[in-house]
Symmetry: C2
DNA sequence: ACATATTTGCTAGGTAGCTAGCAAAATTGG
DNA sequence: CCAATTTTGCTAGCTACCTAGCAAATATGT
């Protein structure tokens, strides 16, 4: 993904934020943090980059002034329209592999990931 | 891994470098680059960090002065001795999961990864 | 009503990866 | 033998992730 997006000077997470704003409309920054399950501080940096490039606007909510509403700009929408379809990546990676095998792989990794996340949380909770 | 190593102020790649130097003895920096399959520039940074902390020494080879030999220091060896066994991570993640399923997962991911790497190289070769 | 909590986003500083381009040293080919 | 190429490590500058700690705004509990 990063490689395909390099010509447009975008990283994969920047792409996802743009994708969400273009598709689902203006969104609260904190909701996007939850969607991507990254840290608030990480999102701050990504949004700052997108704002610097003029692709996204950030404005405080009128009701709750802590929250910031993110909106794609005209420039951002234009760029979004020019981006290529990235679904070829999935095709290259998985086409022709047995569906059942993929399902097994997903289950194994999901289980392992959940267990490790569990462990992490317990360690942190102390 | 990062989480388990945080108390020792080590990242996972720093750990691996230390592991290799403690286990296999002094090693050429460029060999380590190949072992870890990371970029030379990335290795430069990691080695710089380890040298700054006094855990690793870096000295030019007498024959080929481009190459740098990496060696664990006394301080590094001491720290290495104090580090906990990290194999519990693998146990937590995979214990009890069917061996055959794990094998399938490995194959699926290996195939997908190889295909994507192939694609990348072709794109770069142009 | 007001002190205490929580939520949200920020800064500062760290790890781990990348590319591009440079310089020095070593190797190779005519 | 010497010019051209390759190898090695470096710097500079980028993305993307993290934690810790702060400040402002809001919510909550007595």
């Amino acid at each position: 993904m990063d490689s395909a997006l390099r010509p447009y000077d975008l990283g994969s997470v920047q792409w996802y934020v743009l994708y969400h704003l273009a598709t689902a409309g203006p969104t609260m920054q904190r909701d996007l943090v939850r969607l991507l399950t990254i840290e608030r501080a990480t999102m701050t940096g990504i949004v700052a980059t997108l704002v610097r490039k003029g692709l996204v606007e950030q404005e405080p909510d009128r009701v709750d002034q802590r929250q910031k509403l993110l909106r794609i700009t005209a420039t951002g929408a234009k760029l979004w329209g020019e981006l290529p379809d990235l679904s070829f990546i999935r095709s290259v990676a998985f086409d022709g592999i047995d569906e059942a095998d993929i399902a097994v792989a997903v289950r194994v990794i999901q289980t392992a990931t959940e267990r490790l996340e569990n462990l992490l949380q317990k360690g942190t909770a102390s």
